[in-house]
Symmetry: C2
């Protein structure tokens, strides 16, 4: 891994190889390049350059006498320096916008829809992390009696998310106490961010409360639990089967770990959060991933906003040999479009 002196010619060759491999999924040889791309070089020269690029760690060979394919390092260099960034074409944008439909919808619907559109458009599986609830603002809290021994706690945030939790309660709880607490909760918690629930409840609400402390304790517990990150449906996926269309996942041993991964929400959560950061779109390539199952995949993520401080993450998972230019442009656009739609929803 000598540090490469990347002259222009080497860069061109690396770019051409990567482009070609992304399109064809076949190792690409010197002959092919010389014929297909007009570099004004003979195969032999290209071979020499390719040998250099391999030594410097940008290319690798599946076996002697196959063509070369980009290494992870090669992809990284390609993404950072070589690739032609592009914007989506107007007609592509239209397709996406239409797919998201004009109809105003609850945030959950929007997210599901976004996942679907993203997967269909890129032909790779999509992942979406629902907006972080910690800074969403509570708009409504309510305790609803379901049966003799159970009460449903529900609250709504300004992002249109509804969370609920069942509270198991003793049988002689009377409706008066319940309504009392319910009203009080609503009054105190409304228009406050989720993250302040605990302090608000303990400091302001505790003292002036008349209801049985047991009920209060359980309600607080339920609230906190509902807010915690382990609620269901946090990561939405779509198009998972599309990964099977990629030739690199033709054999069972290849795709099986991935499909298993898609059923494990915790792992998906890590995948999205580890890579993402605020700001623009990010790419994590192959071995850069911490998750074992996804070592020969790349993840492209971007954050979207659902209110002042509430952010979520959208992402696309594909083979390292992914059409980065297209996916980057799409993820970027989708993130901003989703932010816009959610902004309209919450009226900001």
């Amino acid at each position: 891994m000598a540090q490469g002196i990347m002259d222009e010619r080497k860069r061109r060759i690396l770019k051409v190889i990567t482009d070609d491999y992304i399109a064809s999924a076949e190792p690409v040889g010197s002959r092919t390049i010389a014929r297909k791309y007009d570099l004004g070089l003979s195969p032999a020269t290209i071979r020499n350059e390719m040998a250099d690029l391999e030594e410097e760690g940008y290319l690798e060979q599946p076996h002697t006498s196959a063509g070369r394919i980009p290494s992870h390092r090669g992809y990284r260099y390609y993404v950072n320096e070589l690739m032609e960034r592009r914007r989506l074409q107007p007609e592509e944008i239209e397709r996406i916008v239409k797919g998201m439909s004009a109809r105003k919808r609850a945030i959950d619907h929007l997210i599901h829809q976004a996942a679907r559109v993203l997967a269909q458009f890129t032909h790779y599986p999509s992942l979406i992390l629902a907006p972080d609830k910690q800074h969403a603002v509570i708009k409504h809290v309510r305790l609803v009696r379901l049966g003799e021994r159970s009460v449903l706690l529900l609250f709504v945030t300004n992002t249109g998310q509804v969370e609920s939790k069942v509270i198991d309660c003793y049988p002689d709880l009377n409706d008066f106490d319940l309504d009392n607490l319910s009203g009080l909760l609503n009054m105190r918690l409304c228009n406050r961010p989720v993250v302040e629930i605990k302090t608000t409840m303990e400091k302001e609400l505790g003292p002036e409360l008349r209801c049985p402390p047991e009920l209060f304790r359980r309600t607080l517990e339920a609230l906190l639990e509902a807010v915690r990150n382990d609620t269901i449906e946090q990561v939405i996926t779509d198009g998972t089967a599309q990964i099977l269309d990629q030739p690199e996942f033709a054999e069972r041993e290849r795709f099986r770990p991935l499909l298993d991964l898609f059923e494990e929400e915790q792992a998906l959560y890590r995948l999205l959060t580890e890579n993402a950061g605020p700001g623009k779109v990010r790419v994590t390539i192959g071995e850069e991933n911490k998750e074992e199952a996804v070592r020969n995949c790349s993840v492209v993520t971007a954050t979207y906003e659902a209110g002042p401080r509430a952010v979520g993450i959208i992402g696309v998972l594909g083979p390292t040999r992914m059409d980065y230019a297209k996916v980057l442009a799409t993820v970027e656009f989708m993130a901003s479009h989703l932010s816009r739609l959610l902004g309209e929803l919450t009226g900001n």
Copy 2:
């Protein structure tokens, strides 16, 4: 397909073949049977009987000189007449009950959990249709303002399900009108079944209403839409990747249609509702299925109850060569266990 005169010996042979094939996934030959099962018959005799069974349509041969495998008709006969029905063992029951955890939870959690347990226990993908909301009883209705131009309509049913829908409204809607309508809705709709929403709103509520008719119209629309069957998350699946462990789905062309099916909620819905009926557990075998993609699969379903008239369906999808005895017992038990848990939840 002459109508078979099924004497006892033929029945025994058919049963043994089916049992063996279910366990081994290999076509079973006369020799194997004679050796492995103590029928007191020579291979040649068994061959003759097998030839008869084939002619009568209970068995088929993948190709000359392979063993026989049960036809769909054979499986049907096996399930109806031959199979030894069994109950789950106490330790199996314990595993399931534990998997469902003692903690009281919202219905959505319960359903997800049930799907997971069912899939892990049977080693086949599981499907669950959330309870039919049409006869659930409304426990709470509320309009919550989210932003300047959007209002969230939400309602809770006695089964602990929370439905919500965003209503797009004109900017000058005042909070007074909103609260007014919200309170009125709650008063009138509470403790009524979902199915009566429309008539109630039109007949009782329309006249005495003071709020702008436009808002009223949109709210009604949103309510009806929220209640309709096309809400998201209706069919929950789990363990879809497990189908890949079955040897019959080793090749891509075999499993691909199935994985696609799992991403199409409409199709899953049809799959569950077409086969299920009230009462006990049901089996649909291979070609009996209407859905093209599951023609070499069997579906075992059972209904569960989530309140007086609210029913849902749980099911397991596997290859026709499925361990019917185990799956039937499991699905049956899970349905009743889920009914019990939901009963506790709603206090009935």
